[in-house]
């Protein structure tokens, strides 16, 4: 009997602190699997951001740095410039990347920084208890949009992939989702491709992953998957926005 599915070695044994059914866990595993498959665990340096995934440094079994809120792309830049042959990635939430870290992500992409960004878009601030994110959908209730997000008051959600795709330095830009098994598998392929783009030195790569926050959405994990599928995918269409010829 053969093991067909097991814990990737790029994950530590440590149990995560994520809420039951939070898809952060799935995304962690996909990243770890990609690292395993590429055999780069001992070359990988990850950058944890500030968000629910702040403890990512406890979970990924490689060298890790914990970055200030929003600044992971700058931290990764510092690392990559010192060790250009390492595989450097960040793992960031939507509050982290799309709100406070907007300048850092845009400029890392514009510079064509050879890093890989895993961008977990759950349309909310999970860690701090469910405040509005720049990615929060119009009408969505959060603790800081208690009457539902109103476009007239605070505008429309930012589509990060589309925005970064306007930058020539952004080699690979894609949006995937983990709301069901087929999409989880696609997400895995996207993450693999993103690392590949970095390995080949083609430029900046980012995988935006549509994710859930059952706790702050006030739903069961299953309801959350359904909500993500039914509400987020329309505003955040899946697909590749930029792909270098070399990995097409």
């Amino acid at each position: 009997m053969k093991v067909v599915f097991q814990r990737p070695t790029a994950l530590t044994e440590r149990q995560t602190h994520y809420c039951p059914g939070c898809t952060h866990g799935i995304i962690h595993r996909l990243v770890a699997e990609a690292i395993d498959e590429l055999g780069v665990l001992d070359k990988a340096v990850g950058v944890a951001s500030v968000g629910c995934s702040v403890l990512a440094y406890e979970y990924f079994n490689c060298d890790m740095q914990q970055a200030a809120h929003g600044r992971a792309p700058a931290v990764a830049t510092g690392i990559k410039r010192v060790h250009p042959n390492n595989i450097v990635f960040t793992y960031q939430g939507d509050g982290d990347l799309a709100s406070i870290g907007m300048a850092e992500i845009v400029h890392a992409a514009a510079r064509g920084e050879k890093i890989t960004v895993i961008f977990v878009n759950n349309a909310i601030y999970g860690m701090t208890g469910g405040q509005m994110a720049p990615t929060t959908l119009v009408g969505q209730k959060t603790t800081t949009s208690p009457y539902g997000r109103q476009a007239e008051h605070c505008g429309y959600p930012v589509r990060i992939s589309e925005l970064l795709a306007t930058l020539q330095g952004a080699a690979y830009v894609t949006r995937v989702s983990v709301h069901d098994v087929p999409n989880i598998r696609k997400a895995k392929r996207a993450i693999l491709k993103a690392f590949e783009v970095q390995q080949k030195g083609l430029g900046f790569s980012i995988v935006e992953v549509i994710s859930t926050c059952p706790t702050n959405w006030g739903m069961t994990p299953l309801e959350a998957l359904k909500w993500a599928k039914e509400n987020m995918l329309e505003y955040y269409p899946l697909g590749e926005f930029r792909t270098p010829e070399e990995v097409k």
């Binding site: 009997m1 814990r7 149990q15 994520y18 598998r185 069961t220 299953l222």
Partner: protein, 67 residues
């Protein structure tokens, strides 16, 4: 024969695995683990087809699949 193994103490009882199993053999145990969660489990293991859908969606890497 395919089979799955659950690491009880890692399970958080989210039921995502339950929702995707094509053979509908995963259910939630009455007993809670040390963290206080009801955990996922399989009794009719012979019905498992080793598709790993459950493991693929499990956020807590609770499940190992053999085939």
């Amino acid at each position: 024969m395919p089979k799955v193994e659950f690491e009880r103490e890692r399970c958080k009882g989210c039921e995502l695995c339950v929702s995707v199993c094509p053979t509908k053999i995963i259910f939630m145990d009455e007993k809670i683990n040390k963290k206080g969660y009801r955990v996922a489990t399989v009794t009719e293991m012979d019905k498992c087809i080793g598709c790993a859908m459950c493991a693929t969606i499990c956020p807590d890497v609770v499940i190992t699949v053999y085939k």
